[in-house]
Structure formats: structure tokens, C-alpha cells
Amino acid sequence: MNQDDRLMDRLRTIAAALDGPPELVGESARAALSTRRLDGELAELVLDTPADTAAVRSDERIRLLAFHAITASLEFQVHQIGARVRIRGLVTGASGEVVVETARQQRSGRIDAGGWFTIDGLSHGLIRLRVRADDGTTVTTRWISV
């Protein structure tokens, strides 16, 4: 082992002692396997575009997304004001509820008679949406970063 390798090894030991991944990061990583969904259909992303934000506040952003699956389709706006994230959208082809999953929690909202749903109180990060239809079918989107 040359001098550089020895120095690198020393740095590696120090980093492991001072700055290894926090316990929680490892626990969450191991738990991530449970987010695997074997049931239902994976919806395909067909649109992801920033909306015209000329008329809104400087810290306000609106993004439009659409996902299509055979059994149901989802179109929604991701509305960000500062650190707050709200989703409002329209489901076609299914009635029931929409569940928004984040890495840490879930929030759900009923789909109303017109097909609309709103889910508020989210924060930045990865999310995915799942339509849980009254007939038992589910449609899930890919993870998206908001």
C-alpha cells in the first residue's frame, strides 16, 4: 500500500467515525423495500410542464402533470407556495380516493362527483399518487420530485 492509499484509509476511518450515515438514514433505506407495489397498474407520465406563472407570486410555482393508465387517468396541478405544496387534480375512469405517498407519510382525499380531488399540507420531496378505486383496482404513478 502506497502513501496515498494509507492517507486515504486514514481519512476513511475518520469519516466513518465523524460523518457516517445517520442511523435513521440506514433504517429508512432498509424500509424502502416495503414501498414496492406489486398490485395495481403503473400509470405512465404523459405530461410534466410548468404552468404559466406570470400572474402569481415570486415564490409560487404551478406545475401540470398527467398520468395515463388503462383503467384510469390523472391530471393534476402541483401548487407550491414557498415550502407548502398542494395538489389539485382530476381523475377520469375511477371513483374512490387518491392517496399521496411521500417517503415518510401518506395523505388521502376523496374524489368528488365531478372527479376532482385536493390534497394539501404536503412538503417538498418525492411523492407518488395512487388512485384507490371503489371497485378495488389501483393505479399508481411513478415517484415525482416536487
Binding site: 486514514r10 475518520i14 465523524l18 445517520p22 433505506a29 423495500l33 420531496g125 418525492l126
Partner: protein, 194 residues
């Protein structure tokens, strides 16, 4: 020889938690090191790492080259880091290398003090005087187990051929700043005091 990534991926795809845990043990420190190399703090760094694992779960059956899993993970965590940094730059001042600020005034945290001595502290602090490029490369190389250069290249989006020479220059610089050779040779076998 440990089980290869492809076999572990296939097992994890079948729901084998043990295989998944082995992959996490193998790569979690690399992902964390990349996040730290990109100056992410504890919260954002944790998010970047977790997002990467979630994306792997989602793509378990779609990893085209299972033997290059390390590079796939390194590329994914880099993208997650850059995205978090873009967001942070809109919301707050540029982040600092938080990981280098863990030893204020040369005091090691209690748990670390058990493993480290003053010379290690001096070495760690000396890293702060290196260029950002050097700090980032060295921090990624500090992952345990040591990452392959292929994975490091993916993590930092740099040509694999330049990693060895850049590492050498950065370590040379560190030696100059910290008088490392002295620090390392002093460490030699424990001598009995007269």
C-alpha cells in the same frame, strides 16, 4: 467472494429483505458520502439518499446492467443532490461543507473522540482549506467500503481517467497543508515511554 449485485437485485425483486439489506449495507455510505460531497446538510442529505433508494425500489426490475448498480445509484444520488441544491439556492444562501464543521475549535465529539486523536482532528480540519473539487472528490472516496472509480466517476460526473491523478494532486495538497507525513509517521507503533 460476496454475492454479486445482480443476484441481490434479483432476490430483492422477489421481496427478499435480507438481499435488500445487503445492498443497503454495500452502498448506503457511498450515497451518503456523495450527498456530503455536494455539501448537503443532514436533512437534505438524508432525503437525497432516501430518494435514491426509493427510485431503486421502483426500478428493481428495470436495471439494465445489474453489474453496474453502483454507478446507477451514484448517478441517481448526484441528480437528487443537484435538484435539492437548485431548490435550496432559490430559498436560502449557499450551503456550507457542514461535515467539515463538526470539529469546532478542534474538539472532537464525544463518541468520535474514542476513535480519533488530535492528529486526526488536524487532518480533518485541513480538508477545509482544499478546493471545492478536492473536498468533493476526497469525501466521496472516503466512503466505506471504498467505492470503485467507476462509481466515483458516476457520482461526480467526471471522466474515470482523471480520478487517480486528481486524487493524487488533492492528497499532495492536503499533505502540504497539514504536514500529514509527520502526522502519519508519528502514529507508528506505540512506544513505551521511558
Amino acid at each position: 467472494m460476496s454475492e454479486d449485485d445482480g443476484a441481490l437485485l434479483a432476490a430483492a425483486e422477489r421481496g427478499d429483505q435480507g438481499a435488500w439489506d445487503t445492498l443497503v449495507d454495500r452502498y448506503n455510505a457511498l450515497l451518503w458520502s456523495v450527498a456530503r460531497g455536494y455539501r448537503l446538510g443532514t436533512v437534505d442529505g438524508g432525503d437525497a439518499v432516501q430518494n435514491t433508494w426509493l427510485r431503486l425500489v421502483e426500478n428493481l426490475d428495470q436495471i439494465a446492467e445489474p453489474h453496474r448498480l453502483g454507478s446507477w445509484l451514484a448517478t441517481t444520488v448526484r441528480r437528487e443532490c443537484l435538484q435539492l441544491l437548485r431548490r435550496a439556492s432559490r430559498e436560502q444562501p449557499a450551503p456550507t461543507f457542514e461535515w467539515l464543521e463538526k470539529l469546532p475549535n478542534g474538539e472532537a465529539p464525544l463518541d468520535a473522540a474514542l476513535l480519533l486523536d488530535e492528529r486526526d482532528g488536524a487532518l480533518w480540519r485541513a480538508l477545509a482549506s482544499l478546493s471545492e473539487r478536492c473536498q468533493r472528490l476526497l469525501r466521496v472516496l472516503m466512503a466505506s467500503p471504498p467505492p470503485s472509480y467507476v462509481d466515483v466517476a458516476a457520482a461526480l460526473d467526471m471522466p474515470i481517467g482523471s480520478i487517480g491523478s486528481t486524487r493524487q494532486r488533492c492528497l499532495d495538497r492536503l499533505r502540504k497543508v497539514a504536514s500529514v507525513d509527520e502526522l502519519l509517521t508519528d502514529r507508528a507503533p506505540v512506544r513505551e515511554d521511558p
